[in-house]
Every structure is written in C-alpha cells, then in structure tokens.
Amino acid sequence: MLKHTPFYPRTAPLMEGQAWRRWAGYVVASSYELLHDREYHAIRSSAALLDVSPLYKYLITGPDAERLLDRVVIRNVGKSKVGQVLYTAWCDAAGKVIDDGTISRLGEQTFRMTAADPNIRWLHLNATGLNVTIEDVSESTAALALQGPNARVILQQLTDADLTALKYFRLTPATIRGIPVTISRTGYTGDLGYEIWVDAPNALPLWDVLIEAGTPYGITPCGILALDVARLEAGLMLLEVDYISAHRALIESQKSSPFELNLGWAVSLDKAWFVGKAALEEEARRGAAWQFVGLEVEWDSLERLYAAVGLPPRLPTVAWRTSVPVYSGGEQVGYATSGCWSPLLKKYIALAHVRSEVARPGTPLAMEVTVEHRRKQAAARVAKTPFFNPERKRA
C-alpha cells in the first residue's frame, strides 16, 4: 500500500477531484482543485504551498561525511560552507548520471542529502572504510516548499530568522511560531521560494501556521501538475522523465553524462578522485556528443498546422512527459522529453536532448506534433534555459 505524507490530514480534505498521484511510494496531489491553473499562477503571482515530503532524505554525519560525499557527487562538497546548499548530480564509474538532488551542509560534519530515487545502498557501497553514519530520514523529516513572490513576506512574519539575509541556496535553522525547522532558500520552481524541513510530528502545526499567515497573501496549496509547468519554465529536469538513471537504464544509449545534461558546470574535475572522474575527464577532453537544451515551438508554424485542419492550436496546458522526435533539415537529431504551454510566457516550451552540433541557442529545428491524428513537424528554436528567470529568485 502507498503511504500518506505527514500532511495528509490537511491535504486530503482539499482534494476536490481526488486527483492523487504516486511519488516515491507516497500519494500526493496532482492538483487540489479540478484544474491546476490557479495553483500554477500562485507560484508565479502570490505563493504556493507544496508538500514535498516524498523526497528521499539522508542524514550523513561523522568525521568522514564530507569525504564520502566528495567521493560520490560531481560537485566539490569540501568547498561548501556550513549553511550552504549544493545542487549536484552523482555518477556511476562510467561517468553516467545516477540521480540528482541537493546537499545541505547543516554542520561541519552534518549533511542532508535529497534524492529522487533511493540511494542508501549506493552511499553505503562508497562508504567502505570511512568513519561516517548514513541515516535514512525520509520518513521522519517532512518538507514543504513555499514558492512564489510572496513567499518571503509570509515566512518572515513567522520567524526571527532574517530571511532577507538568507541568500539563494543557503539555509538557516529557525523556529516558526516555536516549531524548530530548517529553512532553505531552494525549490523546484525557479522562483523566489523556500523549502522548510521539519520533524514529521510537527508537520500539521507547521502547515496550519503557514496557511493562516499566508492567506492574506494568497497562499495556495499546490499540486504536482502546476509544479511540472513551473519546473519546465525554470528549465529544471526530472529523473525518469528527462533522463534515465544509470542504475535503471537497460541499454547504454539510455544513459546520460552530466555534460549531456547541461550539468558540465557542476563537474569538479579539480577535486580528488570521485566516482566517474576518469570517464568525465575523458569526456571533457572529447566533448559531449549530446546536449540537453530548451526548445521554443514557433507559434505561427503551429497555428498553420492546425489551421490546415480548421482548428485553433491545441496547446498542452498539462505538461507532457513522453519522448518526441526533434528534427533538423528532415534528419532526426534528438528527442524532447517534456514540454508544456507556458501560461506566463505565452510560449510552447520543451526540454530536449539534441546532438551537440545543433545545440546552440537560436538553432532552427523542428519538433513532431500530432495534429488531428497525423504526425506533423512544427518549427522550433533552441532557447536558453531557464525560459523564465525572475530577478526575485536571487534578489
């Protein structure tokens, strides 16, 4: 049986359409309301409250905690300061990505790692001979994401921690109306926002005070459908949707290296040995064969395709998560893995794997679209990601 998150007693009564979905063995809301529109706009216009408890969370402590993480992930954990959060990926020995997530440095020897998939075995395998404790705190730690332009003003009313001083990808211990929490300035929306980490027994009182303080500022409980649109606008990829874990891939071509996932910036080749380093050094020399890019489907082209059958363009208001061929001059040069209509940007956007030769922003490509049961190609252009990157995200 699937589990409920600690917020279930609050989220369940909000479910107008009972639109639950699965996430890492839990059920969470696709959308609370029948349509996800308002939940999406809350992310961009006021504030959205998301239950992100199903994330895998590991507490890694001990004198060798830093060494373990530096062995496993591609970024340089040793350079991080207490209170810093790193977004990173980790690879197998062949330099192919297993998963991506965040590492929060809670203390000199204390880290919290989040992951989309279970990784405890992989961590243990790499901890041989190290003085480190790895604890799976996925169930005992609940998490809420408060995302949107009003996130700060809502949260600041409830805590003494100075949130203006809390920079992007930093965290602080705090109390929210007496409830001990960790607040990190992170999220999966590409907007101003925070994630709040709390011991599961305190989950419900935390939810209640946030709703109470947030209501005058338009706080809106928000499900995964809305988040999916926001993360696409932010150009953020999703495991098992946009790429396949090297641990799950059945054939070589299903795997991706960090360079192929637009994560070259995160690869710290200057640090000591880590899993996959040799392969990544080699790939850095050779250059990646693939790139992970943004695509903008051109409206006029799409409109023409639909006008030919007497219809206005049908736009994906719910993000799709399938593999769609991408062409250049009639040749298939890649595939898009997720896409949606951006209600904010008024653009049809997608994330795609394409051959490196056609990955430069502005390159004209074509993406397959199905118009009235027939396969057509709509003109598209490689676009810089994030598609949407408001100043408030970092300000």
Partner: protein, 529 residues
Amino acid sequence: MLKKATRYDAIVIGGGHNGLVNAAYLARAGKRVLVLERRPRVGGAAVTEEVFPGFKFSMFSYVVSLLRPEIIRDLDLPGHGLHILPLESTVTPMLNGDYLAAWADHDATRRELVRHSPRDAEAYDEYGRLMHHMARAVKPIISMVPPDPTSLSPRDLLGLLRLGKHFRGLGAEQFHALFKLMTMSSADFLDEWFETDVLKATKSASGIIGTFLGPRSPGTAYVLLHHYMGEIDGVFRAWGFAKGGTGSVSEAIASAARNFGAEIHTDAPVARVLVKGGRATGVALENGEEIRARVVVSGLDPRRTFLQLVEPNELPGEFVDDIKRFKFRGSSGKVNLALGALPNFTCMPGNGPHLRGAVSISPNLEYVERAYDDAKYGEFSRQPYMDVVIPSLIDPGMAPPGKHVMSIFVQYAPYNLNGGWTDAKREAFGDAVIDTIAQFAPNIRSCILHRQVLTPADIERITGLSEGNIFQGELALHQLFFLRPAPSWAKYRTPVRGFYQCGSGTHPGGGIMGASGRLAALAVLEDGV
C-alpha cells in the same frame, strides 16, 4: 525638456494602450517615435491607480479580454511584465435566493446547469460549438484592414474576395446563424437556445456592455460573439485579470515601446495637429511648444481626433458631418470599493471560490431590460446590471493584507442624464449600486471603507473619452468594420495626409485589444514614412 531641433518620424497623440501599441510597432520598425500623453501616467482607460492609500484599482477597464496574441508575441509583453491571471467563474445571484454558476470546470458547470434545466445543459454544449464556429468565422476580420465594399481598388476587391470565400466556406447552416447573429437581439437569439431565464440574462449582458442598447434591441446578438473570440484564444489565456491591474498591461506595452527606442512623455497635452498644405507636419502642445514629425497618429477617439485636434477647414464637410454623427452615448459607470471584509452573498454564504470570479447582477432578462428602460428616458438604472469582481482575491497585492478591493462595472448610467450629472446625482447613483448589491449581499455596507463612483461624465473628464464611452464610440453594427469611424476613412488614414488614427474608434475597436494600434502602425509603415 524636448529639444526643438529633434525631428521625429512619428508622434503618437495619447498614451492609451492603442497609442502605445502603435508606437511600439513603429519603433520596432526603426522609426523615431514620440508618444505624448496628457495625464501623468500612460494607459488611458487601462490604468491602475492607488485611489485610496494601499488600495489599487483598475480604475476603468478592469479585465483583459481580447489582447491580440500576435501583439503579446511581437512585443514580448510577458518579458515586460505582463502576467494574466485566470478569472474563472461567473455566479449570478437570483431574486429567489438561488444562483446560477459557471465554473472553470466543464463538468461542474454542466451539473450546475442541470439543476436549472437538463435541456439547457445539453443545449449549452451545442451553443458553445456554434459560437466557436461563428467566432472563428469572424476572427480573421479582427486582424485585417477592413476592405471597402464600394471601392473598386484591387486591394479592396481582393480583400472582399478573400472575405467572401471565407464566408462561403462556412456552409449554409453556419452562414444563416451568422446572419442571425448580425441582425437579432441577444435576447431573441438566446431564446432560440435556452429556457432558463437567469442563464439568458447573464449571457445577454455581454451583448450590451458599452452600448446604449438593451438585451431586446436588435444588433446586440453580434456583441455576444466578442466573448467567444476570447474563448477561442481561451487556451491561450489572453482572457483574465492582469496582475497589478490593467495599468500593468499599459506599462508592459510602454516598456516594450521604450525598449524599441520610443520616447514617451507624460504631462504633455497636445493642443492641435499642425497642418500645412493638407499635410500634417507636427503638433502644438498646450504650452505652445511645437514638435515636428513626418507623421502624426492620434489615439484619441474620432470626435477629439477630427473635431478638436484639426481645424475643420482642413477636412471635407461631409466627413466632419459623419464624425459629428458618430455615436458615443456612454452608458456605463464604475464603482470602486475599498473593503475591510468580504461580502457575504445570501445565495452562497461565506468565503468561497465564487468570490474569486465575477458576480453578475443580472437575475433575469426583464431585470436587465428594465435597467435599460430607465436609461432610455435619461435616468440611471435604479436596479442596474453589474459585473462585480474582487481583484484582491486573485492578486493580493491590490489591497493591504486581509483587505480587499471590489470593482463594479455598472450599466446603465447615461451620459446625457436628465438635468446633467451633479455631485448629488453621482452619490445617488453610487447609492443605487450599493443598495442593489445589498439585496444580494446584505453585509456589503459594513464592509466598505471607501467608495469611488465614476459616472460617464467622470470617465470623460479623466480619460478624455467622449461622452464616457468606453469603446471610443458605440460598438453598434452601423459603426463597425468599414464604417468605423466613417465610410471611406476606416483604414486608419484620414483626409489629412500624414495624419493617422489608431484608437479603438477605428476597426476593430473595443476592449484592451490593441488591434487598432497595430493595424494603424502597419498602415503608416506601408505608406513609407
């Protein structure tokens, strides 16, 4: 402030949304453009103002309906801050304490309709499909320069031919429906489809907005179509509430225009257009300053454009006559309320999703028609039709935390009120509005912190819109397409060479659409400035 030596390619008079769109397109084409706005801020009737401290209002125009998608794209308005939030539902309280609701979810709306009439619930989808086809039939017209059916120029003939082909392609059934839409009253048209009175009343309301007509007046059915054009773009979501109010739409367009190099000057009222040898050469400001330009574009309404900015002897007498006869007849007012608490509607007590959408005060057809009867004889409606929204529930930034703003569009309030508008009449009008709302939400009076009442006379005084008509001239069939604003001069050009018109008094006009501004810019560019 202005360097007199500077010579502009184009001066746009009036920084309303169409003037700004016009300037943006001209600047985008590389022209040196100057926009002159009389008021301290741009936007015209699409302005957001902090009328009471902490309470912001879309003072006049309050929803974005038909802003053209091509304009949003061409000017990258989202990149300049445009964010349209969904306005999802409409609830109509009834006199017997019941209500009719239309929700964003199709099934939810259907179930609600079944409650009133299972037959109407089924007709509703069929009606929607017909209107979809009708809107698609009419939509191309919005983005085209209206061809003149009396002209023999190849351009006009070609345009007419295309249009003819387009209409022939509709098929007999749809063509007949279109003809009915063009000629019938909205009440009669809706009678053919539905039996639920409150449904017909609420739908018919969209056929009378901005006109001096009632739901039983012929010609109003056509205006229903405008709503469905928004529906076609529905998935595109150009329909809704602009974050920050409608002023933020104007600000986004202004920002795009500046980005393309246009200069925008506020507090710069234009006295007249300078004409030499039948050609516009620039403008004279009210402070006497003269600025030269190769062309001048007016975003003001036809009356101001031709009877105020230009000397009558520069224009043909017949044309002046036509413009004098162009009907404005402002018929609507606006009441803006600052609220300390939310209204409690008897039909749906408490806070709920209905408050985040529109509340339509149109309990039955007779109610709306009677509201018109008052206006016909020179009085404001004692029981007016109203469209009520609470923007702060959609966009909390419009009011201080926990407080709210309410925007009430009110019809009818005739510009030519018996005895004229006075302060006392304005307050009496405001009282009638509040009294009517109180019938449906009895606690409304105790919620009100501040009240702003705007009559057509106020709308004219503040925005300059003649007779307070929100569309720069009635959206009546005899004032549309190749007749807007006058026969032979419906293509943005005027009898004065180098002088153009770009306001919503030209085709296609009406609403925050921007189409007039864009098409006028294309006309200017085509003439080779």
